[in-house]
């Protein structure tokens, strides 16, 4: 690995700052009794069976109370507020992922 010392100065191309509030949400201590949402990118119909399976496992093994399935409008389109805001209200945690 090249060393960062010497008399020839270059500037970093990497970012020096990120969005305010761009931090991870507080982690849950337990999933027991919690409502967990899955947000998939809507490539599969009626929805992603992998997330179905994960949801069942979270309920059986971890005691999650309820599983919510949500979808982006389409995989090349961003999820809008009408999809995201209900999850913010209803869910204690949201799993996002492609899950193809």
């Amino acid at each position: 690995m090249a060393q960062e010392h010497g008399s020839f100065i270059v500037l970093s191309p990497q970012p020096e700052f990120f969005p305010r509030g761009g931090v991870l949400a507080p982690r849950l201590d337990t999933l027991r009794g919690k409502t967990i949402a899955f947000l998939d990118n809507n490539k599969l119909q009626p929805h992603n069976r992998y997330f179905d399976l994960l949801g069942h496992l979270l309920q059986e093994r971890e005691g999650a109370k309820e599983i919510i399935h949500a979808q982006k409008p389409f995989f090349t389109r961003p999820a809008r507020d009408e999809v995201l805001k209900p999850l913010m209200i209803q869910a204690d945690a949201v799993v996002t992922g492609v899950g193809e």
Binding site: E4, G6, V10, L11, P13, P15, F75, T76, R77
Partner: protein
């Protein structure tokens, strides 16, 4: 008084050590860079405020200031006069309908391509003619490369990591050209989009590589465009399922032949939209359509229950973007889209 540069300073022994450090740190596209010394970055920034904020680049959401864009532009080999084009290209990609987060992280090979219109293309000698989609021209190569380095360094688009492309494609090194306005028989693309002819713009479009369509035989618009529609009808690209925008770049000889029959650009779009269709029975087991992947953005009038229904390549004729570029010869290109919208941004000269 000029504002100071704020980027972290990295001391190394010499320029070669800088090149190696950037390579080993994953800060390049795999090719050596021009070491971004404070002097070169200052020269690139020129009269801009280096701390002018442009936006956050997804998916890493690194903060993009003019200074950070300038650092990457120096690395790419840009001249200072190119910086306004780089800035406008970033702004175009950050428009919500472009969905840069998706473009950067998809398994599809898509990457942003850029087309420059207006007087700045001529001022900077951005190639719009022979070989304009290939190598050999500094503005095309270095502005395109700067935009890629920005996507990697500020946006975190690292192949195999956050950039999940199964293949990627060669346009990820640089993918930029200008419209050949001088030899086009029609109004320039940016004028079609409501800009003034004297404005300069950059259009960002997320897409595959270009597919060549050779037609030396015909002068008739129906025949020329029938062959192009035939290439557009190939299954497997995203447009038939995801819609969004798609792009055709006509060579001047094809465009002039078509215009000699009094066809306007709008006629070209309508014809291609009418002919670039596939029956649902052909689309059933391709792309995003199959036993489980019955996803599509087809218009409501496409009867899903009738396998003989013809689905269009995109939702409306205006979603077919038509440019004129290239040199002599009778080759045009079709460039399938990823499934989002192209965005045209005015280039502001500081």
């Amino acid at each position: 008084m000029r504002k100071p540069l704020m980027s972290k300073e990295i001391p190394v022994d010499d320029p070669i050590a800088a090149i190696e450090l950037f390579m080993e740190s994953g800060w390049t596209d795999g090719l050596p860079i021009v070491p971004p010394t404070p002097e070169l970055v200052r020269r690139m920034v020129g009269d801009y405020d280096p701390q002018e904020f442009i936006g956050y680049i997804p998916p890493k959401y690194g903060g993009a200031t003019v200074e950070k864009l300038a650092v990457n532009a120096v690395m790419a080999g840009c001249k200072p006069a190119y910086l306004p084009v780089v800035i406008a290209g970033v702004k175009a990609m950050l428009t919500e309908i472009f969905n840069l987060h998706g473009v950067q992280s998809t398994t599809h090979m898509s990457t942003p391509a850029f087309v420059v219109n207006g007087p700045i293309a001529r001022t900077l000698n951005i190639n719009s003619k022979a070989g304009c989609l290939g190598s050999g021209f500094r503005p095309n190569a270095t502005i395109g490369r700067a935009l890629r380095l920005i996507l990697m360094n500020l946006g975190g688009g690292i192949p195999g990591e956050t950039d999940k492309a199964t293949f990627g494609h060669p346009g990820k090194y640089a993918y930029l050209w200008a419209e050949n306005e001088e030899e086009s028989p029609w109004e320039p693309f940016h004028v079609e989009r409501g800009f003034r002819p004297e404005d300069s713009t950059i259009t960002a479009y997320s897409c595959e590589p270009p597919h060549n369509i050779n037609n030396h035989a015909e002068r008739d618009p129906f025949q020329i465009l029938y062959g192009i529609a035939g290439a557009m009808k190939g299954t497997g690209h995203n447009n038939f399922y995801v819609m969004g925008d798609t792009m055709v770049v006509l060579c001047p000889e094809h465009a002039v032949s078509i215009a000699e029959s009094n066809w306007r650009k709008r006629d070209v779009k309508y014809y291609l939209w009418e002919k670039a269709r596939q029956p649902l029975r052909e689309l059933k087991y391709n792309g995003m359509y199959g036993a489980e992947y019955k996803k599509n953005y087809w218009p409501r009038w496409v009867d899903r229950a009738d396998e003989e229904t013809l689905a269009p390549i995109v939702r409306t004729p205006d979603d077919i973007l038509v440019f004129v570029a290239g040199g002599k010869g009778r080759h045009s290109v079709f460039i399938p889209g990823w499934g989002t919208r192209a965005v045209t941004q005015k280039i502001e000269i500081s």
